[in-house]
């Protein structure tokens, strides 16, 4: 029984080793059989994206963050609403009250943000 508790993880370890090894092996194989002929046109974005203009490290309005945060609140709410709706038949009135409380708390947060003037884009 020695090592009983760690033993199932051995297969995961083997998978990791095989996974990394397979990628390395194919790269190695490709390197062996492909012709080597680099020229500049090979390095540009081919049907992947636009050529970037300027630097991506620029300043932008912090209000985006706050909007994103408020969006996330209601995003998470939806995540909780789906399983609740599925199990609603069995849970009954109790679950309804609980969910109303949960949503009220979230709306209180929105009310706070509103009063703070967060939603105004000045």
């Amino acid at each position: 029984m020695k090592g009983f508790y760690v033993a199932p993880y051995l297969s995961i370890l083997i998978f990791i080793v095989i996974g990394i090894g397979l990628v390395l092996f194919t790269f190695f194989l490709a390197r062996l059989i492909r012709p080597s002929h680099p020229y500049p046109a090979k390095t540009i974005n081919y049907e992947c994206a636009e050529l970037p203009i300027g630097d991506s490290w620029i300043q932008f309005n912090p209000r985006f963050y706050i909007f994103a945060l408020i969006f996330v609140i209601f995003d998470v709410e939806a995540v909780f609403l789906f399983p609740w709706a599925v199990a609603f038949g069995q849970l009954g009135l109790y679950a309804l009250i609980e969910m109303v409380i949960f949503i009220l708390i979230l709306f209180y947060g929105l009310y706070y943000a509103w009063k703070q003037g967060v939603l105004k884009w000045v």
């Binding site: 029984m1 020695k2 090592g3 009983f4 508790y5 069995q90 708390i105 706070y112 009063k115």
Partner: protein, 502 residues
């Protein structure tokens, strides 16, 4: 499928629910009233804490949410500590909310209340995941509070450090919890205790995995407790964050860590204590860290010139003393831990309150700036002296009784069998380093009383600050002179953990 609702027993959760709703009101209070009043939000949150305390006194013992939410002696005792430390932190932050935090007073107080709610949940949860959620609710508001001086570089640095360390330690803790779950198949602490013992007896070889989970959980909680070697963030964060928040971190957050530690180790892993449990003996591991805490805390504090950094190192050392009670594992052990935390709350919150009052007036936190304070503001100097002497453990103050109980608990176990005689060494280190600690505490008193110059600062108490200092003084003297009632209440804690006096 028929779904059976667990027995909620929401009555037991009433204090938490009330405080949470109150915090919601406080957080929007300033915005809704258009910031007309300077200190209304502060008084409102003090009132909320008092009402919560009132509700708590009627709550009584019991369990709710199946076996997830316990209202046991430990929970009630520590909830009083959390409410008390939040009360004293809020009481001593009226100065900074008048001068520095003008636009976000409601949020400042509201976040302290949210953190307190998290601590209270943690103290009641008897299940690893709800315990973890309680710990998160405790720390996340504190990240924000540490960086509340947005224009101050030190404060921002403190918030950043605390955030990164806090997030990292939470990850370690939840990783350790996942191993515990893997070993026992449950997150219920009482069930885990039984399952782990059965697994251990059946397989004889859960050593490495269990050791790993023990180390991870100690590291995760050790960061919250600032137990060496996980203490490096403490002085920087205490120095940078607003002083009342540093006080709250050093008492409230630490007491929360202590509860989590007691629940996971003293209760859940109690079978894995003692020399026959090698390599899974967490007792000696924690004792080693306690020795490190006492030595590092007490020696490095000597060199500090900033009083907040000095108190940070002193708080590291105090955790070392508390851990002596934690590893004692007898009917006095947890009671002495609870008593220590209670006594430490009064002394440390009091000392930080004096630092906050002084800082509001002068903006200085250097120990040398306290020179000659006894001549210009004798009351402030006298109360600071009392708090520091209590922290050092001078009779007849609370700190002395606390240290006495902790040492007594360890000596009792040490004397019970030859295999636990190493606890004598622990007590020895504790006593020796307590002597060192007197040096740096007395150094501040020397500056205040025996300096030739007279301090140019005449510091007056505001009403809430005076209340906090008085509360601290009453607590320090009462617990030192008449500790029996509190200790009697605290002894229920050990009994509820299954340590029955023989």
């Amino acid at each position: 499928m028929d779904f059976q609702l667990p027995d909620y027993n929401l009555r037991l959760m009433l204090p938490e629910i009330f405080l949470f709703l109150w915090a919601l009101v406080v957080i929007t209070f300033d915005v809704v009233t258009k910031r007309k009043s300077e200190s209304a939000a502060g008084y409102l949150s003090l009132l909320g804490l008092l009402i919560t305390g009132g509700i708590l006194s009627f709550t009584g013992y019991g369990r709710g949410f199946g076996t997830m939410f316990f209202s046991d002696p430990m929970a009630l005792f520590f909830k009083v500590i959390f409410l008390g430390s939040a009360f004293m932190a809020i009481g001593s932050s009226f100065g900074i909310t008048k001068q520095k935090i003008v636009n976000h007073r409601g949020e400042f107080f509201g976040l302290i209340l949210f953190s307190t709610v998290g601590m209270m949940f943690l103290a009641s949860s008897q299940e690893l995941l709800s315990l973890y959620i309680g710990l998160e609710l405790t720390t996340i508001p504190l990240f924000v509070l540490a960086g509340f001086f947005k224009d101050n570089k030190l404060s921002v640095e403190a918030a950043m450090k605390y955030f990164i360390i806090g997030a990292f330690s939470s990850a370690l803790l939840i990783y350790g919890i996942s191993f515990l779950y893997g070993l026992s198949g449950t997150t219920d602490i009482l069930q885990m205790k039984i399952n782990l013992a059965i697994t251990h007896l059946t397989f004889k070889n859960i050593g490495v995995t269990l050791l790993l989970s023990i180390i991870l959980v100690i590291a995760g909680i050790g960061f919250k407790l600032s137990l060496p070697p996980f203490h490096q963030w403490t002085p920087d964060v205490y120095e940078g964050s607003p002083t009342p928040i540093a006080a709250f971190l050093s008492v409230g957050s630490k007491a929360a860590g202590l509860v989590a530690f007691a629940k996971i180790f003293v209760n859940g892993l109690s079978a894995f204590y003692g020399p026959e449990m090698l390599p899974n003996d967490w007792g000696k591991l924690v004792a080693t860290l306690a020795v490190l805490a006492m030595i590092i805390g007490n020696t490095v504090a000597i060199r500090q010139t900033n009083i907040k950094r000095m108190l940070a190192y002193s708080s590291i050392a105090q955790v070392g003393y508390i851990m002596i009670g934690m590893v004692a594992m007898n009917e006095l052990g947890l009671s002495s831990v609870a008593f220590y935390a209670f006594a430490y709350m009064f002394a440390n919150m009091g000392a930080f309150a004096v630092v906050a009052i002084f800082e509001d007036k002068t903006g200085l936190t250097q120990i040398s700036s306290y020179a000659g304070l006894s001549k210009s503001s004798p009351l402030l100097a006298a109360s600071m002296a009392v708090f520091l002497l209590s922290l050092a453990g001078i009779p007849p103050l609370a700190g002395f009784m606390a240290k006495y109980y902790v040492f007594a608990a360890a000596i009792k176990t040490a004397g019970s069998s030859a295999s636990s005689s190493w606890l004598y060494w622990l007590v020895g280190v504790g006593m020796l380093t307590a002597v060192f600690s007197l040096y740096y505490y007395a150094n501040v008193i020397k500056e205040m009383y025996f300096s030739k110059e007279t301090s140019p600062y005449r510091v007056k108490f505001s009403a809430p600050a005076l209340m906090v200092v008085c509360l601290g003084l009453i607590g320090v003297f009462l617990l030192g002179l008449y500790p029996e009632p509190i200790m009697r209440f605290a002894s229920d804690i050990s009994a509820s953990f299954g340590f029955i006096p023989n």
